[in-house]
Subunit: 203 residues, 4 copies
């Protein structure tokens, strides 16, 4: 492929950028930092990415993919079926929190970035939906679920709800310190709804 080399370079930039963002935070990282780290003129970065924000997004996406893979591997070893699902969402929220802290994002930036963020997650979400649907299917095959529902649809709904609660929590946090968003509340709300849904499926 013509683009294989380009992809490698893109990848390399992202790795260096991730280090920079981690060290200095999103704001303090200037494109010259990333350029120097990747041994190229900062203008070249614009050949591979639209702008600083896109670089950041791509960094987060890469981290996400790694994380989701980890997460799914981990969840497979968790107790029974209910717990698998619940802990999946719980860990997922925990991860979101970590990313926010990791890059020292403030609430203001979060609000601005979130839409792009979510757009980016679309891709990841396909994986997520598939994974949850898979868990549900396995449960169904063990006769744990009586539902006739489309399981992918259910999985998507669960994710939708989880995301909605997360966003809701962030948007409520107007006056609070960014990382003081009370994720534990969001966590409980999410757990509760997910369990309700699962109960519904088991009727």
């Amino acid at each position: 492929m013509k683009s294989e080399k380009a992809d490698n370079k893109r990848q390399f930039i992202l790795e260096e950028a991730a280090k920079c963002f981690g060290k200095y935070g999103y704001e303090k990282t200037i494109l010259d930092d990333i350029g120097k780290a990747a041994n190229m003129n900062k203008a070249t970065l614009y050949y591979y990415f639209k702008n600083k924000e896109e670089i950041f997004m791509a960094v987060v996406l890469a981290e996400s993919e790694r994380f989701i893979a980890d997460l799914q591997a981990k969840v497979k070893d968790v107790g029974n079926f209910d717990q698998k699902i619940v802990s999946y969402f719980s860990e997922r929220l925990h991860y979101y929190k970590k990313v926010v802290n990791l890059h020292q994002l403030s609430v203001a930036q979060l609000r601005y970035i979130q839409p792009l963020f979510d757009e980016l997650y679309q891709k990841v979400q396909q994986t997520e939906i598939a994974f949850i649907a898979q868990l549900l299917t396995e449960a169904q095959q063990k006769n744990l679920l009586r539902s006739q529902e489309s399981l992918p649809k259910v999985a998507e709904t669960m994710l939708l709800v989880a995301n909605a609660l997360k966003h809701e929590g962030v948007l409520q946090a107007k006056e609070l310190y960014a990382h003081e968003i009370d994720y534990s509340v969001i966590d409980q709300q999410t757990n509760y709804v997910i369990l309700l849904i699962l109960k519904g499926l088991q009727q």
Copy 2:
């Protein structure tokens, strides 16, 4: 007092500034934000403070004083004498971590700001030394300590060591994510040394 009004205004500015720094972080907060929040031209801020950094420092100092007061009240209710001292230092480190996260400071900034930070803490430290010395004195009066040492000196030394370990931890963190500084290691080291010192006093 001539300066009472000015002091109130200074105080007011600090409260508004604290909100801004909390919301946006140190970097993203621009003086216009603080000015608008405090209903004044940003140039006026320079009448009350030397520069942005001084405003930030004053905010942190105010938070510190509040925190130290809280902390000391809380520690009084903690189990026995040893535990009081140990938990004092543990909580103190936890607070430092919180401040760093609270204002989304990166390692790079930390290094730069730390000296000013510490200078500022001089005042707070007098309170801290007095408090620890008091705890030690009470223990001595209960014949828990046999030492003839000057207790304020001991208190000062404990603080010195705790601070040194904290700084050491930060300076080691060159390549790590700012908030990923491993405070738990620092915490253990600090606990260990403090207990050693206490043991020495009890010989």
Copy 3:
């Protein structure tokens, strides 16, 4: 007089301001410098003077008066009548040059300040005219001048011409370095015209 105290204070401010302007130049001297030097709040300066420029002008005026007095004393001892007049104008130009350098004025500032400058000199000029007229009168009494001209008028004209030539020189200096204005050319031109006028009077 009510204003005697105020006059003393004004005088004191001017002395301190002169030191400041001398040390730092017009631009670099800030009102806080003058205020501190005169032991008063900078706002108070505005009670005594309209603005920074007026302080500067007053400083220059005071220096001028001192200088003109000196000059006139000195000239009295100079050789014959012609030489007295010529050296008066020559020294006068030399003084102007000194003031300009002394306060590190640039050509740009000079252009701006000149009108105010000249307005200020009006007062001084009365003294100057009187002095030159006196020299002329003495010459007339010794029958050195046959003219029927009004001698004050002649004196005034001489000053007018001298000033005009000086201004002309400054305005020509657009592209030159401020203090590189070629005063020697102006000096020669002035001498020449003054001598012509004197010749005319002696016909």
Copy 4:
């Protein structure tokens, strides 16, 4: 060469900047002035220079190099060997005075700028040392000097002394008007020492 164009532009900026500094002085010259004079956005200046000060320094350096070249050409035609050396140092001091006046620098600025100034002159000084050493060598070849000293070393020492006396003079001038520094005293001191050294070489 890759940088030839850039060097030309740098040069062009310096020429325009020199005009501005000459017209308005260091303080009054704003970067917009230089930018406009050089037909570019002021931000572009930062592509070629680190800051305003560096531009100024570069202007002075360029002037210095031109001057030193002139000076050396001129000195070659001066009478005998002793006179060549003495007049070199005398002219050199005269030049320093001119630069200071030329840019309307106040004593305060001089103190601040001097270190950078001297750092910049390091380069020029190599040329100066070589030139003086050459004069000494020629004298030696004519058997005017009996010394076995390293002549470059002697040349360097002479420059060192001349600079030290110059600095001493500036630093003494605390309360004086900047351009009223009494260079004639410095000149005499320098001459005296240089002649002493030359005498020593002729023993």
